[in-house]
């Protein structure tokens, strides 16, 4: 069982939990400011962060507990539309860290199914939009080469999913911010009532609607360049890895074919040896080696699946990156809207005081149609407008604040993520090379053996 070997990067700066709660700094001159042009951390700050990442590699949570997705099981039950279905559940086992073997489990050791993991992840996405949320293992088997089953109930798929889910939990537990989340802890430890608890947070209401996100993408006037670049990068990375995985599967398929056909040599050599005198022994033993060769491809390709899974994780990470970019766009868009709103109201005020009608308003039209209003009416309107302007100014301040906080926090996150990605993918490439070497060694062995046998013919 492969347990998570991830290290966590943390910052010693105190973080607030959610972006909604950030109100730390007032911004004095941000009335018309729609965008910050420098999202880079200053040099001393970034240096500081780097040192921090080296020093602390575990979160408080992981210092306390070990997380395992220990088992999987098939269950049957009625689903929401009252139909019978079969699904798989996974056992989450929490034990005290540093305990001797067989330390008592912490919590209920709940059984969870994939959809519950999805619910947890959605909750985290909504609650911590500035974090690059770790992805779940794939919902359906994709990029399969022909021998591998695409069936969700296939034991190999379930096993790989089990490892992927464990990996997900450990990544969340390694994150400085996410690891502190209560709902997450409840997910790990409470069998009953978790679903109610997560729904009670009302996170679904906070979720940005699709429409909002879409319109934001279309109409942001001044998106931050770093984020635009990041979005482009995630799109391109997504494309590159998908393509790679697809072709890798085809290569695996072909390699499988070549190896397996060699198995026929084994059978034919054996039959042929029966009619030969001098060549019989040599042929017979060579045949065995051909069988060995043919069989060896199964292990080779199984190992490669782990490599493919590592790539897949980063493929799915690009979605998380895109989420962060979309959130930035949304906040930016809302800021721009707030600024526009403020400008429009100020315009109205100006017209009201000067009497010039430049902006269309219902009041203005009705004045034209039904006659001028009285000075008292105008005064009260002006007062109401003034209040509205004040509210708008506060809104712009708040939005600006939100925007800047979001960009600061998310940019740290992105930086952390990039370092993690570079490190882990490099490791993955190295392990791929090691796999190839192991495959070559097997090949050398088998053909050198076969050669000996042929020589004896």
């Amino acid at each position: 069982m492969r347990t998570g070997q991830l290290t966590a990067h943390t910052h010693t700066h105190t973080h607030t939990h959610t972006s909604q709660e950030t109100r730390t700094m007032a911004d004095s001159d941000s009335e018309e400011a729609a965008v910050l042009d420098n999202t880079d951390l200053t040099s001393p700050e970034s240096e500081n962060n780097m040192i921090n990442t080296m020093v602390e590699r575990e979160t408080a949570l992981l210092k306390k507990i070990d997380i395992n997705v220990a088992e999987s099981e098939k269950r049957s039950g009625k689903n929401t539309v009252n139909m019978q279905e079969t699904y798989t559940v996974y056992l989450i086992e929490i034990r005290p860290a540093n305990a001797a073997e067989g330390g008592l489990p912490v919590g209920d050791s709940p059984w969870r199914r994939y959809s519950e993991f999805e619910l947890l992840r959605t909750y985290l996405l909504v609650t911590y939009p500035f974090v690059v949320i770790p992805p779940l293992p794939e919902k359906r088997a994709e990029f399969v080469w022909h021998k591998l089953s695409a069936d969700n109930l296939d034991p190999d798929f379930v096993e790989r999913r089990r490892l992927g889910l464990e990996n997900f939990l450990i990544r969340v537990a390694s994150h400085s911010v996410l690891s502190k989340d209560k709902i997450f802890y409840q997910f790990l430890t409470e069998e009953k009532g978790w679903r109610e608890a997560v729904l009670e947070t009302g996170f679904q209401d906070k979720a940005d609607s699709r429409l909002k996100s879409l319109s934001a993408t279309l109409r942001v006037k001044n998106p931050d360049k770093s984020f635009t670049d990041l979005k482009q990068y995630s799109d391109e990375l997504n494309s590159a890895i998908s393509h790679l995985l697809r072709v890798r599967a085809k290569v695996a398929d072909r390699m499988y074919g070549v190896y397996k056909v060699h198995g026929n040599y084994g059978r034919i050599f054996s039959e042929w040896s029966a009619i030969e005198k001098e060549m019989g022994d040599g042929l017979q033993s060579a045949g065995h080696h051909m069988d060995t060769h043919s069989a060896s491809v199964d292990d080779i390709l199984e190992e490669e699946e782990h490599y493919a899974d590592q790539l897949k994780e980063y493929l799915f990470y690009t979605d998380a990156l895109r989420s962060v970019c979309r959130k930035h766009e949304l906040i930016q868009y809302e800021l721009e809207m707030a600024v526009l709103d403020l400008a429009s109201k100020k315009q109205q005020r100006e017209e009201l005081t000067t009497g010039a009608v430049r902006v269309f308003s219902l009041k203005g039209m009705s004045s034209k149609l039904f006659g001028q209003e009285s000075p008292e009416q105008r005064e009260s309107r002006l007062a109401a407008l003034q209040q509205s302007i004040q509210a708008s100014e506060d809104a712009v301040l708040d939005k600006n604040q939100e925007c800047r906080e979001f960009m600061r926090m998310s940019w740290e996150e992105v930086k952390r993520f990039k370092e993690q990605k570079d490190r882990e993918l490099r490791e993955a490439l190295i392990s791929y090379a090691i796999m190839q070497i192991s495959m070559c060694k097997k090949g050398i062995q088998v053909w050198s053996n076969a050669k000996e046998c042929f020589n004896k013919m």
């Binding site: 780097m50 080296m54 990068y233 391109e236 990375l237 590159a240 890895i241 393509h243 790679l244 072709v247 890798r248 085809k250 290569v251 398929d253 072909r254 390699m255 074919g257 070549v258 056909v261 060699h262 026929n264 040599y265 034919i268 039959e271 042929w272 029966a274 009619i275 001098e278 060549m279 040599g282 060579a286 990605k421 570079d422 993918l425 490099r426 490439l429 190295i430 791929y432 090379a433 090691i434 190839q436 070497i437 070559c440 060694k441 090949g443 050398i444 053909w447 050198s448 076969a450 050669k451 042929f454 020589n455 013919m457």
Partner: protein, 438 residues
């Protein structure tokens, strides 16, 4: 028209398909030299008397002989120890006439034999000339195991039937055929072989019909149409028959499997060639990760080239050898059949003797003479076959062993080279370029 059956198993014996055999369909270039694969230099005019001056085909390992090596291998295969006739087939060239286009091969012969006027000869032959020669050899030695010729057509629906690869494969097979014939103790003495190697113009000789230089042409044809089967086949020939059947089966299976491996390996190579560049493309998006990504791309590229090499070896060494022995299996069966016919003829004659339909005394005498003659024929056919069977067996074991050893060796070499490629990459990753945070 040759009376001998076509050995590739084709069914169109009676059709004169001579102009189809070496038709070159795709190109009308006057000289299509596939000489790029010939490693040694071409010697013009008369050849010089020194080892190594003989132009060698760069064909399969089995065909790459030095003078001394040839003698050693000769012995290993149970051939005549002193080889005095060496032949090569090379320089396929397109020959264009008003009526047809075909491939002509250059045939070089070197010999120390006294019955040859000169010590070196150069002639040009086309595929149907080889067919003619083999037919003549069969006529003259119906129960000797003569090496097969490459097939007329490749019945696989390959689009490039007359591509360079096809011509090269054919050339090598023709080379093997001639070499093996030249080293056969009896066949090398055949007058037709001498004519084939020495006469500039074969057409006149070919036109002289089946009775020329043939001692048993008529009787072979008669034997071919004998309906009646043999009655008392000696047990040893029955065993040979069984062996031939089994061997044929196994060769056919091996041939198919090898072809399948080649096909799969080709497809693997195609996918692999698309795989490597994707790592390079990804590298363009990355900063620190770019270097290892490019490293992997490089490894995959190099491994792809090694795979090409390995595939080439399969196609040029193992595949043709297996295929030739598949054709040999048919020859074995044919030769055994002929022996049976010869025996059947004799038995028929005996039956005629024993029957009471003989009236005159003169007839009886004639019959007795004929029977005695036939009995002699059976004896000599049997002993020729037995002797040649053993000889063939040795050659077969040698050839197949060599081909398989060579293949295993090449495969091992392939994996060793790929191993080195990946280990180099690993090494490069253990000593990072120096600007890592650590």
């Amino acid at each position: 028209m040759s009376a001998a059956p076509v050995l590739s198993g084709d069914l169109e014996e009676d059709l004169d398909l001579e102009e189809d055999e070496d038709l070159e369909v795709f190109s009308k270039n006057p000289s299509l030299a596939v000489g790029s694969s010939v490693s040694s230099s071409v010697v013009q005019g008369s050849l010089v008397h020194s080892p190594g001056a003989l132009v060698r085909s760069s064909g399969s390992m089995v065909n790459q002989y030095g003078l001394e090596e040839e003698e050693e291998e000769e012995e290993a295969r149970g051939g005549v120890p002193t080889r005095d006739l060496f032949v090569t087939v090379d320089h396929p060239e397109s020959h264009v006439t008003a009526i047809e286009t075909f491939i002509v091969y250059r045939v070089l012969a070197r010999t120390t034999r006294g019955d040859f006027d000169s010590s070196e000869y150069e002639v040009h032959r086309r595929y149907q000339d080889f067919l003619w020669l083999r037919g003549k050899l069969e006529e003259g030695h119906p129960t000797l195991i003569i090496h097969p010729l490459p097939e007329k057509f490749v019945m696989k629906g390959l689009v490039e039937r007359f591509s360079e690869d096809f011509i090269e494969t054919r050339r090598r097979a023709l080379q093997t055929f001639l070499s093996k014939t030249a080293e056969h103790p009896m066949l090398s003495r055949s007058p037709q072989l001498k004519v084939f190697l020495t006469e500039q113009d074969l057409t006149a000789i070919k036109k002289q019909g089946p009775s020329f230089l043939s001692r048993m042409g008529d009787s072979v044809r008669a034997a071919a149409i004998a309906v009646r089967g043999v009655r008392a086949r000696p047990q040893e020939f029955g065993a040979m028959q069984d062996y031939a059947d089994e061997f044929s089966c196994k060769m056919s299976a091996l041939d198919k499997v090898t072809q399948r491996i080649i096909k799969e390996q080709n497809e693997y190579l195609e996918e692999l060639s698309q795989y490597g560049p994707l790592y390079s493309q990804w590298a363009e998006l990355e900063a620190d990760l770019s270097e290892p990504l490019r490293g992997v791309a490089g490894c995959l590229d190099l491994c792809g080239r090694e795979t090409e090499e390995q595939l080439r070896h399969l196609t040029e060494v193992l595949q043709p050898t297996l295929h030739q022995y598949l054709l040999c299996a048919d020859t074995l069966k044919t030769v055994l059949r002929r022996r049976d016919h010869i025996q059947a003829e004799f038995e028929a004659k005996n039956d005629a003797l024993a029957s009471s339909a003989v009236s005159k005394k003169g007839d009886l005498e004639t019959l007795k003479e004929e029977a005695a003659g036939l009995e002699e024929r059976v004896e000599s056919a049997n002993s020729a076959l037995k002797g040649d069977w053993a000889r063939w067996g040795d050659a077969m074991r040698y050839d197949l062993r060599e081909a398989l050893v060579s293949t295993a060796d090449k495969n091992q070499d392939y994996y060793e080279k790929c191993l080195a490629v990946w280990e180099t990459f690993l090494l490069s990753q253990k000593t990072p370029p120096g600007q890592e945070e650590d």
